[in-house]
């Protein structure tokens, strides 16, 4: 371990500087690879949507109405069938999402599995291509993260580098897909890394820049929403934007809980899991015959929602509810895809609804776009748990400072309110349900992830219950231990005795064997327990070690208090170096 003095401002070793520059270079390589793959992914989705008559353009180009109806019904259904089959090859039977990347970084585990990443990306591509109401940025982010992790592993670098390259892949994917490098950098910090270290910032920034430059060269598709010269809102309207933020948080909560609830409901369906997406696809296609706006990522719907008069108030409400339901259905029943794009659409519809109401009550139509954008931000930021990223996306895509300030008013209320009511983000809620609680920060996540197995020691005195008291005392004294563990003939753990208590009994009672002695009450640990649980137990114990016992009460060894403390210090130190290191 480094001595504290090396952390000071003294000039660094040239080799360390080179290593750091190498890391930045690695970041840009990861950025380049992730961006190329992201651009390919985005183009493939557009191509599939046109080919499969899912996009309005594709539908319009196919003159045959019957064909379009058939495609609307069959393409999502068959796509769902395919997704269901793909998911059988994945552990847990579900596609991996940004939540898995977040978990890998927050627990310092890194090492995102390549096969699961590739299969998830493929099923994301099929889902999006077949018109499921899901987002494309989730698959892109996870794909970028997997590529980053893979490159680190190929170069045989450590976990710390692994975490940084995961963040690089994420930043590049966002920078490329949105044409927004700043948003990419901030997203990687705000959502994935959740700390700010210069050591990570430089490679992540390099990745985002490379991603952005490649994407502007290769991605012909225009930006997500290009907005020209919005007006200037009245001062009092900022109060409305703030309020829109509060209401948006509730919409975001409804959206997140609808997705989670649908996932719970799916477990009770009398249908094999691999057929769930097909069911969702069939229902989606059927509804889309009536309201085509809910099909796919919904870029056209998003754009229309920003145009005053494109939807009436009633239509806005109906499309909002149906889009929310469709997305919950698709994601809950196992289509692979993100939550971001649908949240953008739902948020914009919600904002447009507010703008329409304001206009009807006498406000101006000129600032309609502000309501649409504020609604979008107010719903999206809480879902992602990323207020700064969402603001930067607005800023980088519109170039409008006025719009960004209005959006700032909305996230000011939206994020904290949603965090209090529901959780920091949908990812955090999902991870918490899988047993990883990120609400107490990364240090706890790391301890929750660290396993006890490697700390188990066999250097302990085990005694049969029938051992005479005297013999037990002499065994303990010879071994130099203060505690002994009672293990019966079948290897079952029976309890724990201390040298002090044995001495007391020898003097004060007629007990002859250990079985007659009252044992010292002690908690035991499961071999699969985390370091975090061990530390919780430690608070109740004064002694040298805790016994490790499996489900059938077989004695497996002990964990010394000192080794728990050492492990804790080791993890804290690694974390400290990663999060506060400058290079």
């Amino acid at each position: 371990m480094d001595s504290p003095s090396t952390d000071s401002v003294s000039p660094r070793h040239p080799l360390a500087v080179l290593r750091f520059l190498g890391l930045v270079l690695l970041g840009s390589v990861v950025g380049g690879v992730a961006a190329l793959v992201a651009v390919g992914f985005v183009n493939a989705v557009v191509w599939l949507n046109d080919l499969l008559l899912i996009s309005p353009r594709g539908q319009m180009m196919a003159a045959d109405t019957t064909l379009v109806i058939l495609a609307t019904l069959l393409v999502p259904t068959l796509g769902g069938l395919l997704v269901g089959q793909l998911h059988r090859g994945l552990p847990g039977g579900r596609s991996h999402t940004p939540a898995d990347a977040i978990a890998a970084v927050q627990t310092r585990r890194g090492r995102l599995p390549a096969k699961a990443g590739a299969l998830s990306a493929l099923s994301g591509l099929v889902s999006l291509g077949a018109g499921a109401s899901v987002g494309q940025y989730g698959p892109l982010v996870h794909l970028g993260a997997t590529l980053g992790s893979l490159i680190t592993r190929l170069l045989r670098l450590g976990r710390s580098e692994d975490n940084i390259t995961i963040a690089c892949g994420v930043a590049a994917a966002i920078a490329a897909a949105f044409n927004a490098p700043l948003a990419g950098i901030v997203f990687a910090h705000e959502v994935v890394l959740r700390h700010y270290a210069l050591r990570a910032f430089a490679p992540v920034a390099a990745a985002a820049i490379v991603g952005y430059v490649l994407a502007t060269q290769l991605l012909a598709q225009g930006t997500l929403f290009h907005i020209t010269e919005p007006g200037v809102p009245q001062p009092w309207e900022f109060a409305l934007f703030l309020a829109l933020g509060g209401l948006g948080a509730l919409v975001a909560g409804g959206y997140m809980h609808a997705i989670l609830a649908m996932g719970q409901l799916a477990k009770r369906l009398p249908l094999p899991t691999s057929l769930h997406p097909a069911l969702a696809g069939a229902l989606l296609g059927l509804t889309a015959l009536w309201v085509p706006d809910i099909l796919g990522m919904g870029q056209e719907t998003l754009r229309f929602a920003t145009l005053p008069g494109a939807y009436s108030g009633g239509e806005l409400l109906m499309v909002l509810l149906l889009k929310l339901a469709a997305t919950a259905l698709c994601l809950g029943l196992g289509f692979a895809g993100g939550v971001f794009s649908p949240a953008l659409v739902i948020g914009t519809l919600f904002g447009a609804l507010a703008g329409t109401l304001v206009a009807e009550l006498g406000g101006g139509q000129e600032t309609f776009i502000f309501y649409a954008v504020c609604g979008m931000v107010a719903v999206t930021a809480p879902v992602l748990g990323a207020p700064l990223t969402t603001l930067l996306i607005v800023f980088e895509l519109t170039g409008s400072y006025a719009l960004t300030t209005a959006a700032l008013a909305s996230v000011t209320l939206a994020n904290p309110l949603a965090a209090q009511l529901f959780g920091r983000s949908l990812f955090d809620i999902q991870l918490a349900r899988r047993g990883l609680d990120l609400s107490a920060g990364r240090s706890r996540a790391v301890l929750q992830e660290a396993r006890l197995t490697e700390l188990i020691s066999h250097d302990a005195v085990t005694l049969a219950p029938a051992t005479p008291l005297k013999a037990a005392i002499s065994r303990l004294s010879q071994a130099g231990h203060g505690e002994a563990y009672l293990v019966d003939g079948r290897g079952r753990y029976q309890g724990c005795v201390t040298l002090a208590s044995l001495e007391t009994f020898r003097e004060g009672s007629e007990a002859t064997t250990l079985a007659d002695c009252p044992e010292t009450p002690r908690p035991v640990l499961d071999p699969h327990a985390s370091l975090w649980e061990a530390m919780q137990q430690l608070q109740k114990v004064t002694g040298e070690a805790i016994a490790v016992v499996d489900d059938e009460r077989r004695f497996l060894g002990v964990v010394y208090e000192s080794s728990i403390a050492r492990a804790f210090l080791h993890h804290s130190d690694a974390l400290r170096r990663e999060e506060h290191g400058a290079g």
Binding site: M60, H226, L307, G309, A310
Partner: protein, 372 residues
């Protein structure tokens, strides 16, 4: 058939092709027949392209003219009796003809690099280099207005076409969906990249129709000269039309009109070689010659059609006859092209009939009353 012998490889095909044709038509190698559009356009081409080509390569150029359409070409190819070496076609027709197999694919290295060495693929505008065609110039459907109609103010954006409060007065629009639908959505501030995606939905079309219906007093025109006349007679204050016609009216007849370049709808005009052309080698030589930056610049000194090369667009100078600065009059000059929309010809090729039917049905029950 000759075409089959082309398939194994372009170079081999060219060599094989030249021999039998020469045997049938001994004069073919010595002359080049171009099919173009006649009138002032052909006159400009003759001065800027055909005569200089004859001077440089000693090959006389004969010109045949037509009014567009693929009928004649289809028939000629079917009968294996193609009289033309080079065709001047709109890009949408060139695309369709290429898909039908009526055109010879062109080698990618046919076009010359820019004078500064920029490769052709980067110098040409996107979409200018097709499999069987090369766009040589760009014309535009634009809005023009009478300079004396709005004292103190001038329209600067295409949305002003629909703003009859600030710019009162009747309008003249072409009786086709093209340009009108695009402009209507642009007036809602839809970015131009998204126009055709939104026009692919019923909601987008309805929005566009609603914006068009919001205009009071529209004169719908069909013949290209009508909007110029309507402006000249003062019957309308703003009219859509082709930029070449408005230019002629401004320069030759001194009409007090001005072009509003924002929202201009650009279309490509291309060179192509028909399958079974009598003299394909000379045709390729001609296309290479006519698409150099130098020739494109020269053509733009006779008619206000934009060069398809960036290097040429930057060098356009004055009108040969009047000495006017042509840069202000060609659609592709960077200043004019800021708000340009490129017509999505693939989209129109597939949807034209349906969109047109809907356009008539929606607009003309009410619009008939205002039509003269």
């Amino acid at each position: 058939m000759l075409a089959r012998r082309l398939i194994p490889g372009l170079l081999a095909g060219l060599l094989v092709l030249a021999t039998p044709i020469r045997a049938e038509e001994p004069d073919a190698a010595d002359s080049l027949t171009v099919l173009s559009w006649g009138g002032a356009y052909e006159h400009a081409q003759r001065r800027a392209l055909f005569t200089p080509f004859t001077e440089a390569h000693d090959v006389p150029v004969a010109v045949d003219s037509y009014n567009g359409g693929l009928m004649e070409l289809r028939q000629a190819v079917a009968e294996n009796d193609v009289p033309w070496d080079v065709l001047d076609m709109t890009r949408s027709e060139a695309m369709a003809a290429c898909e039908e197999g009526l055109l010879k694919p062109l080698p990618p290295e046919l076009t010359a690099s820019a004078p500064d060495g920029t490769p052709a693929s980067q110098d040409f505008l996107p979409g200018a280099l097709g499999r069987c065609f090369i766009s040589h110039s760009i014309f535009a459907t634009v809005v023009a207005y009478r300079r004396d109609a709005f004292p103190g103010e001038r329209p600067t954006r295409i949305a002003d076409l629909f703003d009859q409060q600030r710019f009162p007065g009747p309008r003249a629009l072409q009786r086709t969906p093209a340009a009108n639908l695009e402009w209507a959505l642009l007036a809602y501030r839809v970015p131009r990249e998204e126009l055709y995606r939104l026009l692919s939905t019923r909601r987008g079309l309805d929005l566009a129709f609603a914006r068009l219906q919001s205009i009071d007093n529209i004169h719908w025109w069909e013949a290209g000269e009508t909007p110029v006349r309507l402006l000249e007679e003062g019957q309308v204050v703003m009219a859509s039309g082709y930029n070449g016609r408005f230019f002629a009216a401004m320069v030759e007849r001194d009409l007090p009109i001005e072009i509003l370049w924002d929202g201009q709808l650009q279309e490509h005009e291309t060179w192509a070689i028909p399958r079974g052309a009598p003299n394909p080698e000379a045709a390729q030589t001609f296309i290479r010659f006519a698409t150099t930056s130098e020739r494109q610049v020269e053509l733009a000194r006779h008619i206000p059609y934009g060069p398809t090369r960036r290097s040429a667009a930057m060098q356009v100078t004055t009108h040969r006859d009047s000495g006017l600065d042509m840069r202000l009059h060609i659609p592709t000059h960077p200043i004019n092209a800021q708000g340009a929309v490129t017509k999505d010809e693939t989209w129109y090729a597939r949807t034209q009939e349906r969109i047109e039917a809907l356009f008539r049905e929606t607009l003309f029950r009410e619009a008939l009353t205002t039509q003269e």
